[in-house]
Symmetry: C2
Subunit: 375 residues, 2 copies
């Protein structure tokens, strides 16, 4: 099927770029001497999980229990659920463990540790847990040098419900970098903080075999990962304008786009209207925080994916995207019914509004892959 | 089921508030002497469509062809698809008409009109079309006094494929108002522009029976709707912080909220972490453009829905919401595992990430209603 025949808006995935991005990250992990545990929070697709882990163990990261359940149902048997566990989600996670999935949860507080420790071990054995470490992002996690690190570990291992498998960190502040040089420095903060936390835990008597780090910018820019056992980048599969703007990828690495149709010309206001708005593109404007002209995305030729006349989606309503244009020639270039593609600010958020990917190779739609949204 | 037993994040709908909002808008339409054709782009739920049209004809507005198909499958037989039609969507719309649905499409340009006019009439008869009018919003539509108005109407009625049923406008600029007084002025712009366009079309020989206006702020504030036949508000069903901030509703009218759990305490950064982030809440910050402290939403008590200690979701990552707090007492008030509810900036965008509503009456979950997302 010709991609121009798709009903719009539609979420397109460039197969060639996806495969190149996946291969490049596998090579990064290999050359750094760590395992790759891709984060599927961006792709949320069993098909992409298989491609991303090809040639290695089917070990992944997820951001919701629903993703864990979905990927387990699709045969993935080694999952890290990388968002702090709440006591009332332990049951769903334990149910997966009981079905043979190695599911690791994370916590960063004594309350979470206590709930895990108090869990009644099932036949599958105790729950497996990683301690979340804050290596500079300031989101979640205990500091590597804090008393809390040892206190949480001690509380976790008091009972018989849980075992401490290691530490996990996410250097989310790497998204604030503006160069590979800066990303390398953050990667070293991420590595050294995680390793220091693991060493302190080992000195206190915990085995702590896993040291898990990960974000796409630090995965791209890390110079060495001594002491780390695995990394968990996610958005590298698709990349986006935010990653291209901070420099972790090139514009031609962006594999995700939204196909849209021109639905009108507002000549008195000076813009073209698209049928991709706040829902199809999302209201994420992360790249526009650095380059305001980007707005809600770059307008590209529907077939070549090359930038189209410097057009951007300047504003959005629920189902409308507004693209300011200069004059008659622009309207003639994009008549009502014409199709364009929009490169998104933030692939994870844009993709989440769509139920599936139309996978394209050149002008051809070659496959349709599902996604698991919601919770 | 107790709402505190729900897995989080979850989208909650207060039944009492919903019913009160629906009744109030029916009374507004009655007192203004117009039909109510509620816009289901916010609710996207067949159950809510039935409640919203109770006591009158099942006539609704939708924002996607998929919504039209979903509501038609649930028995709704009178639908306006209020986003400019593209030539390649006419087939899906016509298929609904062939199944007995009165489906009206809109256009504002000669290209759209030409495609509709060229349609081969089916047994169901010609396609039914409304001309979109720009009454000040500057999004889509021809101006009431423009030559384009008559040119598009003439082109539409040249062939046998389509009939012109009237005009439609949406005063989206009413969202920029800051008082009921301003909304009343915009409502009069919306009314007078739509009526003027209809009168010019009638003078040119078009029957133009329908004059359709609508936005929640103008529906709430209109003083008279002389010459208008129907109104199409949507977000009034749920309201949200944006509507409360501009003054089209009170805070206690907001029927939609997101139930979230506390997943961690970052004492060194000074915030509580919730499991409702960019996906569960959306990245819409419309109310925060007026009151920046709102951020991504108001944190409320999970049971009373009263504001909680002035807390707001200050920043979001994909599955994390960060709520700055002052000190130990706040962490003790909200231990890990505690539940809160977040009032959203913009109900239409927040609801779109969720597959269903958990409908609550007091502390009790009384029903689960589905939603139709996507395209």
């Amino acid at each position: 099927m010709d991609l121009l025949a798709l009903q719009t808006p539609a979420l397109l995935l460039e197969r060639t770029r996806l495969e190149r991005n996946l291969a490049a990250m596998r090579e990064r992990a290999r050359s750094l001497g760590v395992a790759l545990r891709p984060h599927l929070k961006t792709a949320k697709s069993a098909h992409i999980a298989r491609l991303a882990t090809a040639g290695g163990p089917a070990a992944i990261t997820v951001s919701t229990v629903r993703e864990a359940e979905y990927f387990a149902a699709h045969g993935v048997s080694d999952i890290v659920y990388a968002v702090g566990i709440t006591p009332d989600k332990i049951g769903r996670a334990a149910a997966l463990a009981a079905r043979g999935v190695t599911l690791r949860m994370i916590t960063d507080c004594v309350e979470g540790a206590a709930a895990l420790a108090a869990f009644e071990p099932a036949e599958a054995g105790p729950l497996r847990v990683l301690l979340e470490i804050d290596t500079g992002a300031g989101r979640a996690g205990v500091l590597p040098d804090s008393d809390a690190l040892l206190a949480v570990a001690a509380r976790l291992t008091e009972g018989t419900g849980a075992v401490l498998d290691g530490v996990l960190t996410h250097a989310g502040h790497s998204y604030g970098c503006r160069s590979l040089e800066e990303m390398s420095r953050v990667a070293e903060e991420e590595r050294s903080g995680a390793v220091r936390a693991a060493e302190r835990l080992r000195a206190a008597g915990h085995a702590c075999p896993m040291v898990s780090v990960g974000s796409t910018p630090t995965a791209v820019a890390a110079r060495d990962l001594d002491g780390v056992t695995e990394m968990r980048p996610g958005v590298y599969m698709f990349f986006d304008l935010d990653q291209a703007t901070i420099g972790s990828c090139g514009r031609d690495d962006i594999a995700l786009s939204v196909l849209a149709s021109v639905i009108g010309h507002n000549r008195h206001a000076g813009h073209i209207l698209l049928d991709a708005g706040a829902l199809a593109l999302s209201k994420d404007v992360s790249a526009a925080e650095i380059r305001p002209e980007i707005g809600y995305g770059d307008v590209c030729d529907a077939l070549s994916l090359e930038p189209l006349l410097g057009f951007h989606v300047h504003s959005v309503h629920q189902e409308h995207g507004m693209v300011p244009v200069a004059g008659d020639a622009d309207y003639e270039r994009l008549p009502v019914g014409a199709k364009v593609r929009i490169l998104p600010n933030h692939a994870c958020i844009t993709a989440a509004a769509h139920a599936h990917y139309d996978v394209v190779d050149g002008a051809e739609v070659v496959e349709r892959w599902d996604r698991v949204n919601g919770w």
